[in-house]
């Protein structure tokens, strides 16, 4: 049975792998190909004190803030786009001191993840000059031993987990992204372990035809979850567009009960077995 199923597990079991206080990197960008079903299940299971990493997040981070799952967000940008406005739960959580916004430039998130990929404690990075983020966030500098030049050093970001939602994966964990890749590939190498949620489970042998299109090799992956619609209400390239009605609804929720109902409304779809 194990051999047949490979690394396939239910979304409940996959979320069980995440422990309170773990650091998770979330794939996708703003409202695109974000692992929304997974973060919903984290909220359902009441995970606490999670640290989240993302270059640019929106509904995923906002939802985790709404359900008090996270204590810290390292990111360059957290907001819905133009017509959807600010991420109000994130905003209030930060203003209320419940969540720490570790603001980065998106590129310093990338640099921190790269340090982790390369097994080094920091990465020198170009830019940041003149930004108050240097002092506010305690970015340090380092002297190039060859030229004496001073450059900003970004501390390693080593997530316990990368949570990536993709269009296709096989049961070994080989994962294939259609369309924009955003920072998912980098995250898959930077994290200690990877969880893939996939729209479709594909036959492993079909990947042999164009292995260049496999973005994450299975041996880096701990678990694969089959969740069609796992990126909703965001987009998933080639699969579905933004669910504007659902997002609008979420933005208007005020009470804890309303939020809980919203979460419940996804439960049977998120947990559906195949």
């Amino acid at each position: 049975m194990f051999l047949q199923k490979g690394k396939l597990v239910s979304i409940e079991d996959a979320v069980q792998l995440i422990k309170d206080q773990d650091t998770i990197a979330l794939g996708g960008n703003v409202l695109h190909r974000s692992p929304h079903a997974f973060v919903r299940e984290m909220a359902r299971q009441g995970r606490k004190n999670i640290k989240a990493v993302k270059t640019a997040g929106a509904h995923d981070i906002d939802l985790l803030c709404a359900f008090d799952v996270i204590q810290e967000v390292s990111a360059g940008f957290i907001s819905y786009e133009t017509e959807y406005g600010l991420a109000q739960h994130f905003r209030k959580a930060v203003e209320g001191g419940r969540v720490e916004a570790k603001e980065h430039a998106c590129y310093t998130v990338i640099a921190g993840l790269r340090a982790s990929v390369y097994g080094v404690p920091f990465m020198p990075v170009r830019g940041m000059v003149g930004s108050d983020l240097i002092s506010a966030r305690g970015f340090k500098t380092v002297e190039d031993p060859y030229t004496g030049e001073t450059v900003v050093a970004v501390e390693r970001i080593r997530p316990d987990w990368a949570i990536l939602h993709v269009q296709q994966a096989d049961i070994e964990g080989n994962a294939k992204i259609i369309g924009p890749k955003y920072e998912d590939v980098l995250m898959s190498r930077a994290a200690k372990n990877v969880i893939i949620t996939a729209e479709r489970i594909v036959n492993s042998e079909t990947l042999e035809k164009l292995p260049e299109l496999t973005d994450v090799p299975g041996f880096l992956v701990k678990a694969v979850v089959h969740v069609p619609g796992g990126g909703k209400p965001g987009t998933c390239a080639g699969m579905y567009d933004l669910d504007k009605a659902s997002l609008d609804k979420f933005k208007q929720l005020k009470t804890e009960e309303e939020l809980r109902d919203y979460l419940d409304s996804f439960k049977s779809k998120d947990r559906k077995r195949f």
Partner: protein, 238 residues
């Protein structure tokens, strides 16, 4: 011919872009997205257009509202990921990057982080995305803001998310350039006045002479209609 401030802004920005330049816009950037495609349509066919989705000169069939959407890969012949765009800028290979901001001050500095104190903010803003690294490294940063008032254009930012190689600031009312003195009023859009600009700006305007932004031409407006028939550029003006 009638035109909206969004048309003027989009066209004014397109005019700033040159042929053969590599140009990047990020998330929440409908106006720059339209401007870039407009410049390609008009005078800069060889401009290299890069975006977060990873497109290189993508030709989106239908312009998306979201400016990091999958549609922005359509027709691309190579993928050039966001990481690579930052790298390109870091090594001096990016000509133009776009940035908006919640506050822009008289020195051309930008705040996208917080209103109030950083660690105890009155308002936690979205954050500067890639700007703290891009603005100091791109050859030219073009700032745009679709609202021109005293809350945006301030004497001094509450927090400086980024500053650097600011080339121009384009608003619904005017264009600023930047030199060692800070923001210098370069031109006023045809439908406004120096007085109106000053009234809506939170610092005393500095200028060498007063000139008006040339009206959009018929060719420009036609090309704009062609590039953005569904008026995606307007969504930032709501």
């Amino acid at each position: 011919m009638k035109y909206e401030p969004s048309d003027m802004m989009t066209i004014a920005i397109a005019r700033l872009l040159k042929n053969d330049e590599t140009v990047f816009h990020g998330v929440a950037s409908p106006v720059p997205m339209v401007s870039i495609l407009l410049a390609k349509e008009l005078h800069a066919p060889n401009l290299i257009y890069l975006n977060i989705a990873g497109g290189v000169d993508a030709k989106p069939y239908k312009l998306p509202k979201s400016t990091d959407a999958p549609e922005l890969l359509k027709g691309t012949r190579a993928i050039f990921k966001l990481e690579e765009i930052f790298d390109l800028s870091a090594r001096g290979g990016l000509d133009v990057a776009f940035l908006s901001g919640v506050q822009i001050d008289k020195l051309g500095r930008v705040n996208s982080s917080v209103i109030g104190e950083y660690h105890k903010p009155k308002v936690r803003l979205p954050g500067g995305a890639g700007s703290a690294c891009l603005i100091p490294t791109t050859k030219k940063a073009i700032l745009w803001r679709t609202k021109h008032d005293k809350k945006v254009f301030v004497e001094s930012c509450d927090f400086v998310t980024t500053q650097g190689n600011v080339h121009r600031v384009v608003t619904p009312l005017c264009i600023f350039k930047k030199d060692e003195r800070g923001l210098i009023l370069e031109s006023i859009h045809p439908y406004t006045t120096l007085e109106e600009v000053q009234e809506n700006t939170g610092f005393p305007l500095v200028y060498d002479s007063i000139s008006y932004t040339p009206e959009p031409t018929q060719q420009e407006l036609r090309a704009l209609e062609n590039v953005d028939p569904s008026r995606i550029r307007d969504i930032e003006f709501v």
